[in-house]
Symmetry: C2
Subunit: 410 residues, 2 copies
Amino acid sequence: MKLLKVDTLEQAREKLLAQITWDMGKTEKIPVEKSGGRILACDVLAESPLPYFPRATVDGYGVRAADTQGAGESIPVFLEVKEEVEIGTVPSGEITGGTCAYVPTGGMIPRGADAMVMVEYTEPFDTSHIAVYSSVPSGAGILQIGEDVEKDQIILTRGTRLGAAQIGALAGNGIREAEVYKPLKVTILSTGDELTEPGCPLKPGCIYDINTPALARMGEEMGFEIVHTQVLPDREAVIEQALRQGLRSSDLIVISGGSSQGKKDMTSRILDRISNPGVFTHGLALKPGKPTILGVDKESESVLMGLPGHPGAALVVFRLLAGWLERQRTGCPEKPRVPAVMESNVPAAPGKDTILMVRLLPGEGGVYTARPVLGKSGLMRTLTGSDGFVRIPLGKEGLKTGETVTAELL
Amino acid sequence: MKLLKVDTLEQAREKLLAQITWDMGKTEKIPVEKSGGRILACDVLAESPLPYFPRATVDGYGVRAADTQGAGESIPVFLEVKEEVEIGTVPSGEITGGTCAYVPTGGMIPRGADAMVMVEYTEPFDTSHIAVYSSVPSGAGILQIGEDVEKDQIILTRGTRLGAAQIGALAGNGIREAEVYKPLKVTILSTGDELTEPGCPLKPGCIYDINTPALARMGEEMGFEIVHTQVLPDREAVIEQALRQGLRSSDLIVISGGSSQGKKDMTSRILDRISNPGVFTHGLALKPGKPTILGVDKESESVLMGLPGHPGAALVVFRLLAGWLERQRTGCPEKPRVPAVMESNVPAAPGKDTILMVRLLPGEGGVYTARPVLGKSGLMRTLTGSDGFVRIPLGKEGLKTGETVTAELL
């Protein structure tokens, strides 16, 4: 058993970035309407101003503002209605002194008009005239050319996750394809003679595999493409073959195994044999998460991640390393964490970063209370009973009742 | 133009629930590994205890705790090693006084043993004996039968969204299929002679359609199945036909149109004609969101939702109504909102609920500052520049600088 120095989470992250000497930022163009949840790989500029014509923001009459000066509730001004502008069309004439045109919300303001009078402040007077009971300033009720977006203005920046609003903005600018990052291809392997695949009968002493489906789902949530999952026995040759296959097909290979020392040594040995330069992190100063291994293979341009066997630890470390890597790769910022107030004191693990699972209880004024979810390593309950987790940084003795923390949602 | 009383958001929600007299909670059974993001339609009970055998949580030796009494760093106790238990197998013998068995993490504890001594506190003595340098209490290093989950205990409740941890819990309990709610089938229609579909040339005065792709994406994010989207001209017969088709194929039909009064009246008239009992909410006391229409058709068991034409208003109202309806239907709780401190004073709209778009800026101690994103109705910028929105309830005059609010993320 080799004794190796563990890395802090930050050290491991820095090493990982330094080792990735290839381009992880491959992109593809996809139709905007299929780009939901994807991340923009470049800034998007407006090809034309928005709106590209002066546009009514109310139902009413396009007027020359000067013509309405002095109009009031009991002193109407009378204007001749020259036309009814239909939405989606160009007004046929120009508004000159003493005239106006009906324009619906969203319609084009005719030349000559510089303000809208809302229909509520007008009344038909005769077949060709209206009475106006309000004076309006120039510009009222009009969205000017480029007022929303100017031509060549950046409307969305690289690293933006495309949600409903962003897809609307792209569509509104007439953009049909979005250049987004290709999802990382991920292989997920779980090792252990005791692991049983779903649907198979359970032999005494064996357990159903948790890590493969749980890590696969978390990978999907982080935007990865899961290309392969497999449960493997504790046989070196079989594991090596699966890892080599992973190198060929994936950008990231995740292997989680038993937490026994023998297995950890075996995984590390195989990873070192099949990859170059191989494993550079042999453990994390993180609780839970110590038995974490990180390596790269420059030839196949793959990242290798050995995760702890305990499902809770495996999921947290996967988020802290692969989720972080994905943000580095794409420039997509972290989702807002939820601030919460600690319900009780919790000590930290000395010399390590400590991850504390928490349940968020709604509190006064919308501020959450963070209730620690404690339990022995490997309990399912701590996983399903938590809304998220809090990180206690190395060097901090613990968290105090009433202290504000920020929880990363699971 | 009929003058109709508007409803508050809460009134509209109550009316909607009261009008839905059919079962919206249809369910389906799907494989657990494909159930990510879906919502459980029933409580899930454990079919067997977890673990179902006493399980080692450390690498070491299964012992009778009484045999280790008195052992210490300089006073070892010597025990005979009867066997090496392999993971995934049943120990062959029983531990009697003065004996022990090697058990790896995750392995089954042999009968007779009631504690684990970690390998770090032992040393090989001769070929068949070890020296133990620490005394352990009964139960140390062992997860007892049912300690994580007891048989028939509820492991996940109805309304739970299935994330990575939940999928892991189902898999670990040997559950292969999850009973989840069927997604609501949704038709999304946008109306307007000015609306141009992506890729078509823009005629002067026309604009690209925003609402269809934006609402479709938001619907997907809320868990709906978008069965049809269509952009329609302002022609009553065409709109009526599309709505009738929607009634046949969908649980929810969303139509957003121009904000001009004529169009709103037309939409309301058509909805009333094709549905029974028809429209019951003719406007919301909500800013933005006034031109919102709600109805149901009991024969086809469909909900009808007329949304404002402005994309920002349409998206917010869709979330506030359809997102709320989905939570009612499935019992899935709202995702945690993010508490934040107002950066400036903002007045509310009198007599209405006010929705304020905000940007969340990271602040001291992880608490966000909420910066209001203001702008004329219908600006794209207010949409893409916001992280979420804050609701100022009717009757509240506004928000004050420094006041804590909770933002619903977009």
